[in-house]
Amino acid sequence: MKSSSRELKNYQNELHNFKLRLGVLGMLVLVAFSVLAFRFYFLQVNRYDYYQTLAESNRISIVPITPNRGLITDKNGVVLAHNFFVYTLEITPSKIENLDATIAQIKQLVEVSPLDLKRFKKQKAESRTFESIPLRTHLNEVEAAKFAVNRFRFPGVELKSRLFRHYPLGKQGAHMVGYIGRINDKDLAKLSEKKVLSNYKGTDHIGKSGVEEYYEAQLHGTTGFQQVEIDADGKAVRVLSSVAPISGSNLVLSADSKLQEIAETAFGERRGALVAIKPSTGEVLAFVSMPTFDSNLFVDGIDVENWKQLNESLDKPLINRPLRGVYPPGSTFKPFTALAGLEAGKRKPPYSISDAGYFILPNSRHRYRDWKPGGHGNVDMRRAITISCDTFFYGLAVELGIERLTNFVRHFGFGLKSGIDIAGEVGGLLPTPEWKRRRFKQPWYVGETVIVGIGQGYTLTTPMQLAQATAILANKGVAMRPRLVASVVDAKTLVSTPTAAVVSDRITLDKANLEIVNLGMIDVTLPGGTAASVGANAGYSIAAKTGTAQVIGIKQNEKYNEKLINERHRDHALFVAFAPAEDPQIALAVIVENGGHGGSAAGPIARKVMDYYLLGKLPEAEIPKLATAATAPIKPDATAGNVINAPEEEHYD
């Protein structure tokens, strides 16, 4: 070996050796590739069925973990919406051969009402995929235990503990808080449009109305995921990894549930709406729509009976009156006409008219009557507001002209959506000649301007708009966008993020003019005003205006007789106010449907709300009807004399 290694290279030999080794490696290549080919055969032919199945239902399954929905509380932390666990009995229909027989067997263990069965069948028809559908919810401990023992007999039926939404205060503030309901096709389409559908895997419910709907994105949270290994039956064998869900944020409303309760109680059986706003911030303090409904009914799909009852009731409890109920503003519109006139340089004191009880347009014989036959005598601007003199504003409106009038009051939000944080708001109607041409293909008549001046005619407002207009007046022309949610609280860090106070408009107003209107409105609640009873012994000054909105038209020369008219055809009572007048903390609008006169029907409700908000005073138990009758020196300011049919409710979307 040693000698051979010192030899010079034998090139022939070397080449031969090289080729031999190259051949060996070539063989290695062939062997290796053959191994691969056999492996392919094994995977792709021999075990094809196995892998085919695996590919179809990949062994790794992703199970969503739904996040806890955020809580909703009032400003003092009183819970308005929360979640709690309940036992539900759920069936996966695709896993069961004879559904009816299974349900019959379950019935022997756990009570299943016909209502439950109906709901189950409805949901089964609507269910998205191979989901499990609740047959019974809210099982008690005994029922749950009973089923758990017999569980083995029911493959495909599962006892689950689900989070349910609950509204502890039930009916109170239902239109404000809203409710959640099961996700339907429309919701799915919306979610997919917003590209958040994947975040709703495993979620059955979604906000359907009120704050629950508007703040869905904040309340819902982020869905977590669990990666599980599944066996051939699709059952989770073990958890491989998981990403925890992030709970939705909690919402703190600016409303006070006690104030809300006082307001709702004050309405009693009457229909109507109340919106109270803090003028300086736009925070909504109370949001009442009467009658109301129990939000809890909707959470798990409302049953037909309850739905019928709510939907077909003449009282229309489901309508969100503050946002969707439209009413003529009536005399509550006068302070705004007044301000328009003052800002335009008309009717400045000491200007006054001598009111004979009616107004006549030049070259016309039609009499626009004042609500007070015979008139008020000598009336200046301040007094015109106080006693709600129609004649004064008829003339002013005509002199201003419809364009100038509407252009001015639009800044107070008339005819516009307030932008409150609830969906479904309507914009009401502020009529203009252009609108009339479009709507009726008719020219505008001066006579129509006359009645717009006193809030009649085509003009329609929502209670929200009235409250907002009053708040803007109270805030000296600075319009704050109204909002129900004061802050959003992160569920984990508990960091509270206040919602932004947004100035939506800033109207330049002459202080002196504002003062005249304010004084006129303060006088309304003082002896001699149309709502003197409301201001009696208040302990703080109230600037207010009463109003009446007609439901049916009164013909010329006909007299409005409250007693002879069907209750539902009576006028709506309106009342707007802010207090304390010199430093307004609360501005509100109240409407009592078919309540008659604003001062006596709507005023007392407003007073109770203001008393509690400003003084912390709880209303006395008895209904202060007597007081109203005793101290009201002035007759109702029913605005009569024109033939207008004001619709009770219309929807403009």
Partner: protein, 365 residues
């Protein structure tokens, strides 16, 4: 005139090898289109990679093998220096130190070593006047293990193994005695535990998972499990181009790079796989033929090593995707997305073509 020009241009191109390469690369583009979720952007980027790599191939094919032989030692030294530089100033990228950031460009010295190491070893053996002795093989082993150790430290197990293989092929072809091979194989078996302790945790895990992928189906084993599901469900003829459920539904990780073969196998089935193996075999066969016809020791050894390293690439990647080899970061040659590996690969083939087409000159010289 033009004919002459073209002839001059392609004088050093091996048409058979080139044909096989181009066809395989074309297949690669189609698979990449599917694997990338039908991203033309990806395909275009890869096309640019290929164009650059082809230019490199053309340049390499025009370089005389003698020049290659001459620059082998300085190239090797440069590679070592760069690897050390990476070790010292290494720019952390993908959790591993592989790149050297020179401001203008980032270079990956380990890629350079893929060619430099076999060149160096071939140069070394070509210079031996006598038949190589045991000491020569030991020196060669040291020359090989220095860069391998440095690259393994980065850590880049895949590249280290491939360079190790390329060096081994040179040494084997240079005539390492069978006794020694068998002896060191036995020694290696004995040293395995030591080697085991030197491995990084994730490398060990990869080997453990290889033995039982279900150990960690979502972590390390996930790649293998999903890839075998993809392959297996492809069946005999596959699910069709763009129809691979595993590939299209995001189950497959790294499906444009290291695991692209799973996409191919799912969509074209066993038939496609075998055709691909045949293509690879043709390339390897041509490479071995070039090696056997080469006129000098240097070119012979280098051609053999380049060809067999290409084979190793193919085998390790396909083996890893089909679950018979550990998951090491090795791309599928000519198919996987990526510029660096494509350039290195075609540089090798350029050298092969140079060796084949410069034979007469060598003979004359």
């Amino acid at each position: 005139m033009i004919n002459k020009l073209l002839q001059g241009l392609f004088k050093h191109i091996d048409s058979f090898l080139m044909g096989c390469l181009l066809f395989t690369m074309l297949v690669g583009l189609f698979v990449l289109y599917s694997a990338s979720g039908q991203s033309l952007e990806r395909v275009t980027a890869q096309l640019i990679n290929m164009t650059v790599a082809m230019t490199v191939l053309w340049l390499a094919s025009n370089i005389q093998p003698q020049l290659l032989e001459r620059i082998a030692p300085p190239l090797y030294l440069l590679g070592i220096v760069l690897l050390l530089a990476v070790e010292i100033f290494g720019h952390i990228s993908h959790g591993a130190q592989r790149w050297l950031d020179l401001g203008v460009i980032k270079i990956q010295p380990s890629e350079l070593m893929r060619i430099a190491v076999p060149m160096m070893l071939a140069w070394f053996f070509a210079r031996r006047e006598s038949n190589p002795r045991i000491t020569d093989f030991l020196i060669a082993a040291v020359l090989l293990l220095i860069p391998v150790a440095l690259i393994m430290k980065q850590p880049d197990l895949g590249t280290a193994l491939l360079i190790c293989a390329s060096g081994f092929f040179v040494i084997f072809l240079a005539g390492l005695s069978w006794k020694f091979i068998i002896g060191s194989a036995a020694l290696l078996g004995a040293l395995t535990p030591l080697f085991w302790s030197m491995l990084h945790d994730y490398q060990r895990r990869r080997i453990e998972i290889l033995i039982d992928p279900t150990q960690d189906p979502l972590g390390a084993g996930y790649h293998t499990i999903q890839a075998t599901i993809a392959l297996g469900s492809g069946g005999t003829t596959g699910k069709g181009w763009l129809n691979g459920t595993q590939s299209q539904l995001d189950f497959l990780p790294e499906r444009t790079t290291d695991f692209i073969f799973a996409v191919f196998g799912e969509e074209f089935g066993m038939a496609g796989n075998l055709i691909l193996l045949v293509l690879f075999s043709l390339i390897i066969a041509r490479g071995l033929m070039i090696a056997s016809q080469a006129k000098s020791t240097f070119t012979r050894l280098l051609a053999g090593s380049i060809t067999l390293t290409f084979f190793t690439y193919c085998f390790v990647n396909v083996g890893m995707v089909s679950g018979i080899l550990p998951v090491v970061g090795v791309p599928l040659p000519l198919i996987s997305y990526g510029g660096t590996s494509m350039v290195t690969l075609l540089l090798g083939f350029g050298i092969l073509m140079s060796i084949q087409t410069h034979k007469k000159l060598v003979a004359a010289g």
